[in-house]
């Protein structure tokens, strides 16, 4: 007679077959080579899930860390928690409607999200944009770039534990954004650029706010940057962290400040100029070290260059219409157009295919943050868990654009 066995954790009836486990299965079914390599845990290694909700402010990104003690050995980002199907919606919308739909992609820099598709549509339609509209686009775009970089400063410091810089940078950003709200009508998702120009001309409130801000902007921004530049804790944590060398940056298709901080002086505003950038005088800051401190300092240099551009725009702004006259029902000839702009995070581009109807056949948005998240997996190994967020923050991803 067999004595009843005590319940044991090894009882096969208690285990859930891996195929039926949900998305939080501890060791998922490894379907690809890279997954098999990742989930093959050696002695002393452990998986730690940094779930879609975490204290960092970048958005819903899930990162599965493979750690050995406090050191991260490998990591696997899981995206898609903000995938909204914008490209599919775009195929079912008018050319005019799409522009507002594409704002929430890179929501902190939404004017650039509008600029690139608008340029593609203008190429499809062979529309000439009035010069005043181009200057306004550059002016508002550079203001948005400054706001975005100040937010980067705040978030980077917050991810390293400092709370004051984010309060300062949000104060800056709120000022800039109230200015933009005076002409665009919105604080975050501007919906300002139109095919053939911009929605409305500059008005008195915008100019007075801008003048007021410009008179103190230099000193104010320098004070905000100085809060971190001279902070020993910040510098010692950021220096030498996440070094990205030139060759790897090109192979990983990094763009924008992340590429320029690694020694490649590639800026679309100079490499493949668009709008009125050929007429403006500014430099492209480049740094060689490729670590997080270099990326941070580079973005601060870009803020200074943006101030210079805004100044020149104000002096050189011509008079004229702000929008080309276009019919309400737009039917471009069948064709394809690609255009890229230099956003605060990198190359933001749009590939539009038209089939002759009033809806695009295909609208493909390429977002820079998407590729930068691949870099995290390369730069992380060997660093501590707390540095995961530091590296990710220094690459400045925005999950809206990553997940589309």
């Amino acid at each position: 007679m067999t004595t009843p066995t005590r319940p044991s954790l090894d009882d096969p009836s208690l285990t859930i077959p891996v195929e039926h486990a949900g998305i939080f299965e501890p060791i998922p079914l490894a379907r690809t080579e890279r997954q098999r390599e990742f989930y093959d845990l050696r002695d002393g290694e452990m998986l730690l899930n940094m779930g879609p909700q975490h204290p960092s402010t970048h958005g819903v990104l899930r990162v599965v860390l493979k750690i050995s003690g406090e050191q991260v050995v490998d990591l696997d980002p899981v995206l898609g928690y903000l995938h909204r199907g914008v490209e599919k919606i775009a195929e079912n919308s008018d050319f005019h409607h799409i522009i507002s739909q594409l704002d929430p992609l890179e929501y902190v820099a939404s004017l650039f999200c509008e600029w690139s598709p608008v340029m593609s549509f203008e190429k499809l339609l062979d529309v000439q944009v009035p010069r005043r509209a181009e200057y306004i686009r550059v002016l508002t775009g550079e203001l948005n770039r400054i706001a975005s970089h100040m937010l980067f400063l705040g978030w980077y410091a917050l991810d390293l534990g400092g709370i004051t810089p984010i309060l300062w940078s949000f104060a800056e950003r709120d000022e800039i954004v109230e200015m933009l709200a005076a002409i665009t009508g919105a604080k975050l998702l501007f919906n300002y650029f139109r095919i053939g120009g911009v929605n409305g001309d500059l008005n008195h409130e915008f100019m007075s706010r801008l003048g007021d801000w410009m008179s103190r902007a230099g000193a104010q921004l320098e004070a905000g940057m100085g809060l971190l530049n001279e902070n020993e804790i910040f510098v010692r944590r950021a220096r030498g962290l996440g070094v990205l060398d030139r060759e790897t940056a090109l192979r990983m298709c990094a763009t924008g400040p992340n590429l320029r901080a690694s020694g490649v002086p590639f800026d679309i505003r100079r490499a493949h100029p668009y709008s009125v950038y050929p007429e403006l005088e500014f430099e492209i800051p480049t740094r060689r070290e490729g670590d997080s401190l270099a990326r941070y300092l580079l973005r601060m240099d870009e803020v200074r260059q943006s101030l210079r551009i805004i100044d020149q725009c104000l002096h050189q702004m011509p008079d004229g219409p702000v929008m080309a006259r276009l019919p309400r029902l737009l039917r471009p000839r069948p064709g394809r157009a690609y255009s890229a702009v230099e956003g605060p995070r990198g190359q933001y581009s749009c590939y539009a295919i038209s089939d002759g109807t009033d809806q695009p056949f295909r609208l493909r948005i390429h977002d820079p943050s998407f590729l930068h998240l691949q870099l995290v997996g390369l730069l992380m190994p060997g660093n501590l868990i707390a540095d995961t967020m530091a590296i990710m923050a220094s690459l400045d991803p925005v999950m809206g654009g990553v997940d589309k």
């Binding site: 879609p52 909700q53 898609g80 903000l82 929430p104 998702l189 809206g400």
Partner: protein, 244 residues
């Protein structure tokens, strides 16, 4: 009222924040009085699998009823005797709660930026005690869902909600959470978080201005103060799954 029986229109109680609804029924709670959820049978759509969604029938006994009906009178934080008569103690407890509603840091998309803008210097939400955005759901009171909820994120978000200890409230910030917003046609978003969570306050806008979110939070404070957020008497909408 039996399950499956459609309620006569006059018998359906008006939403609690409308004038003319019966506030007395909520303010004075008897021991055996558990608020009946309004069950609207689903005639619009049938599932392919009849066993799905628990066969279309709600579970007979929820965990709340279990406690009430089993006669367990031990202290489970509900102040059994004091529940019957709203006292000054309740009033003060509600004042304490409403003045320090700690939100969970659950910004999903663009509305999170406006939520952060509400929390920082210019529109300072610390004036209402809500500055500490807790990272852990165990320490949070309010779940401000700021940003589009996708179907992939729905499970983690409901888990977060389940991990929050009671009393807890939910604020739907932004058009995407109120009704799906600009992503109404999309294949991967949840058309309004009231399909998966019980929402107390809806703050529309794309994104809502910080002043709008502050107005929504003040409305929530009003709800807490008038004990309409008080846990045993919550009326949860018909589309929310049970046990949530």
């Amino acid at each position: 009222m039996e399950v499956g029986e459609r309620q006569h229109p006059e018998q359906v109680p008006a939403p609690s924040d409308q004038p003319g609804s019966a506030p007395a029924a909520l303010a004075v709670a008897h021991d055996s009085d558990v608020a009946q959820p309004i069950i609207v049978p689903n005639t619009l759509w049938t599932s392919v699998n009849p066993q799905a969604y628990s066969g279309g029938l709600p579970a007979q006994i929820t965990h709340l009823r279990q406690e009430e009906l089993s006669g367990d009178k031990t202290d489970n934080g509900r102040w059994q005797a004091l529940d019957i008569i709203p006292t000054k103690a309740d009033y003060i407890i509600d004042l304490i709660r409403l003045n320090s509603l700690w939100p969970l840091l659950s910004g999903l998309a663009c509305c999170a930026i406006e939520m952060m803008s509400t929390a920082t210097s210019r529109h300072d939400i610390d004036r209402w005690g809500m500055f500490p955005f807790r990272a852990s759901p165990r320490q949070a009171d309010v779940l401000i869902v700021a940003g589009t909820l996708t179907t992939k994120m729905a499970e983690p978000l409901v888990r977060l909600w389940a991990e929050m200890p009671e009393p807890k409230w939910c604020v739907a910030m932004g058009d995407c959470t109120c009704s799906g917003g600009r992503y109404k046609r999309s294949y991967s978003t949840v058309q309004g978080i009231d399909r998966v969570l019980p929402v107390d306050v809806y703050v529309p806008g794309c994104p809502p201005r910080p002043e709008g979110l502050i107005y929504g939070m003040m409305k929530l404070q009003q709800l807490v103060k008038e004990r309409r957020g008080h846990w045993p008497e919550r009326a949860i909408g018909p589309t929310v799954p049970d046990q949530v």
